[in-house]
């Protein structure tokens, strides 16, 4: 029932270096298939809600996990999170906030909005790679997503 070509992981990241490092870590963990990258909040929303360039996509083909940076151009990550979790069609998609911020306000607000996990990007790349590997493994391979009725 799922499109075998459907996107498994949506990576929302504006910082090109962070993006490259994240992709490198995902690739090294053999999780590089069917990744879609959005470079700001607006792009992420268009993809998720099948608008603009993604109008042809079916909203039911949800990604298995969304890795979401918080500090994003145009629409920030918390706003994106709010819209995803506020819509019955998308609220089941696991969202992992992956951010530089250790600010308590961000953490609290993210959890209030229903985030599934909150990961602080460490400066140390090895730790970063490990975190990406772990969460990819968990959300993509181990987690059994609930069936969403059409």
């Amino acid at each position: 029932m799922n499109d075998p070509n459907a996107v498994e992981l949506l990576l929302v990241e504006d910082n090109p270096q962070d993006l490259e490092l994240a992709l490198r870590a995902l690739r090294k963990a053999n999780l590089s298939n069917r990744i879609h990258v959005a470079r700001d909040g607006a792009e992420a929303l268009e993809f998720i809600f099948c608008e603009g360039p993604h109008a042809a996509r079916r909203i039911t083909d949800c990604p298995k996990v969304i890795l979401l940076d918080l500090k994003l151009p145009k629409v920030d990550g918390l706003e994106v999170l709010k819209l995803i979790k506020g819509d019955p069609r998308t609220k089941m998609i696991p969202v992992v906030v992956l951010t530089s911020s250790k600010e308590q306000s961000d953490v609290v607000e993210s959890y209030q909005l229903g985030v599934n996990s909150y990961i602080v990007k460490p400066v140390n790349f090895e730790q970063f790679a490990e975190a990406v590997h772990d969460l990819g493994l968990y959300w993509l391979l181990l987690n059994q997503p609930p069936k969403v009725a059409n």
Binding site: K71, S100, N124, F125
Partner: protein, 632 residues
Amino acid sequence: MHTDEQLRASLKEIGDLKSALDEHAIVAITDPQGKITYVNDKFCAISKYSRAELLGQDHRIINSGHHPKAFISDLWATIGHGRVWHGEIKNKAKDGTFYWVDTTIVPFLTEQGKPRQYVAIRADITERKAAEEKLKASTKEVIDLKLALDEHAIVAITDPQGKITYVNDKFCAISKYSRDELLGQDHRIINSGHHSKEFIRDLWTTIARGKVWHGEIKNKAKDGTFYWVDTTIVPFLNEQGKPRQYVAIRADITELKRAEEAAAQLAAIVTSSDDAIIGKDLRGVVTSWNDGAVKLFGYPASEMIGQSITRLIPPGRQMEETEILSQIKRGENVRHFGTVRVRKDGSAINVSVTVSAIRDQKGKVVGASKVARDITEQKAAEETIRQLNTDLEQRVKERTAQLEIANRELEAFSYSVSHDLRAPLRAIDGFSQAVLEDFGPKLPDEGRRYLQTIRYSAQRMGALIDDLLAFARLNRQEMNKRPIDTGKLVRSTLDELGFPWPNRSVEVHIGDLPASSGDPVLLKQVWINLLSNALKYTSKRVKAEVEIGCTKTNGAETFFVRDNGTGFDMRYADKLFGVFQRLHRVEDYEGTGVGLAIVQRIIHRHGGRVWADAAVDRGATFYFTLEKETKP
């Protein structure tokens, strides 16, 4: 013949004597039984009995009943023995009146020596007796009067030279001198020095002229206390009209004088008071008006006494007086009532008014005393204070707003540091790692080491940023004080730090740790930082020792963490708690230099104090309190 002549001559002489005696005296003769055998005319006259009524009677006919039986029997015993009796007898005349006679009874004897007859010769002494009685009565009266006077008054008598010749008990009592100490002295002994020389001179001039002096004198008693006497000095004159002695009669008026002085003092206070003190009756009519009232309201007393107090009250406040008067009539006082009154010149003044009921001796309210104080200045001062407070509040508000802005900016800054500053570091570290992974084999050893150094530096900067942000966050974090089980907190902290560190030899000794009060999250941070420091700086010891305990400093519970680590030089102790201040090289001991700054900030936020005691290579002890020390 010669004898006849002689006899005649002597009979005549006797007859003459008898007629002379009859002229002069009351004569009676009785027989030995007392029966009257002879009375002369004078006897009849004084007794008012006729001769016929008297003769043959005995003297009981004129007995007055005045003399006791013993007196009569003594009389008879004397003359019965042939002796002359002399005495004074009170007799009763026929008409019931009494008369006194000086009586001589001569018994004439027989040849056997027995009384033959008794001749009684009497002289009328009734008047003398009456005068004597009168004298006796008036003497008694004088004695009574003197007694009464002594009971009532302070009495002294002096001679013309002023020497004291008599004092009564009351004089001794009030002067506290004994009679012996006073007699022979003059009045200087009780001179108080209060009166002028003129006063004393006037007194002496008056009495020396034979005139009565009257006045009030302040005297000094033996014990140095003073007393006031209302004094009357009466000079008694001799036949030459010169003073023979002075009698001074005094009354103790000390209490009265004291009351007078107190009243005068009160009156002086009222007069000199800056407050307006006004008396009024229950209709509000002014009965007294002091200088303070003149000054405050501008009306002289002559224009206010007898007038209604309402002329001081502005038209809109006339009801106040009605209310005050009805309150006073109920016996209630009005205290510090702030209101407005009008001066004579029409200007308004702020006054504080206190009105009290004046009662007569029976306790009935008969009027009111009103004390009014000008509070214009006080009002102005209050207004100034109010204004200052408002300004201050305004400034506090502005400053708070500025601080809030600064705080928000700081938050935004921290937020941006948190997000943006770490991203490049991550790139530096990440791409260095990528180079090492992808091209490591092609690089010389030196190149790989350089890349490792780049990574280390980037990671260290990441740690610095994290600590700095944690430190900055401390001030923004709310304090959440609650009771804390210190022992439990310390043990859980040790567990978190990896107690008992199987790869090291660390001996931890935990003493008695009393409960404390504070923010559990923040205090946990304190213990983490202090204990991890202790572990860090003992890492080069073969056998590390860490002691955790509590002692008292200046009355405050003082927790401490002692280690046997590398210690530090106390000369640099002042740098210990500064941000990014380190006393050791990074190569020797890892660290950013923020841990103790965080400790200090948390302790300060709890109102406590933190300090250290250490020596190079001999360990360090960190102390902290969570409460004010009672002694500085």
